[in-house]
Amino acid sequence: MAVTSEIQAPRSGRIAPKYTRHGSSRGNFEMLAWLFMRVSGLVLVVLVFGHLFVNLMVGEGVHAIDFGFVAGKWADPFWQIWDLAMLWLAMLHGTNGVRTIINDYADKDGTRFWLKSVLYAATAVIIVLGTLVIFTFDPCPPNAAAELLPSFCPAP
């Protein structure tokens, strides 16, 4: 007499919670962070190489950098947007990278918590400060010495 047995299709049923690959509370944050590193990295290669080329290679290079140089660039919305995108993407890319390193090397829960708290606080301060500077910047501040200002500023 033949033995009959029911053969279940693999992984047909509900997966026990302890075997699911994504935790319920974290959602797919880590996957999105992983994807963000690749997408932002690709954009940053263009933004950062352009930034270095224009600021260090063209004209007098590093000698040309002073208030007038920065004011001349940020008088143009093109460079405001360029630098704003670079600021946000580079800070978030760098913060996520350092977060990964803290998770890898800081063994104690308390140490990880404090290191990441300091990291996130620094990131928030730098992103807010940098964004405010780009948008509230005045290339021709009143009461400044005229020879320090870009040439397009009206004579005092």
Partner: protein, 112 residues
Amino acid sequence: MWSWVGHRVTGVAIFFFLLVHVLDTALVRVSPEAYNVVIATYKNPFMALLEAGLVAAIVFHAFNGLRVILVDFWKKGPKYQAQLLWGVVGLWVLVMVPFLIRHLTLAFTGGH
């Protein structure tokens, strides 16, 4: 393995530079004098060498990052990951040689 170590080390170094770089650039909001005084302290041969090191780190991190993307998304990426690392090293040399010639020439001669 060493490319992974290099990617981490250069990444952290660039991140800390970035914090300082946003702070020094924020001085344009204080006054033209404040910004120019601080930037002037960067314009010497020692800082030029540090800048060269920074750019070397950025260029490696950029090209190795592109390699990581290829390994992750290109179907033959994992198979050719070692050759891709030689590509990274080659491109790094190709970019760094003209950069160093131009930047160090500017930094060590002329200017103000």
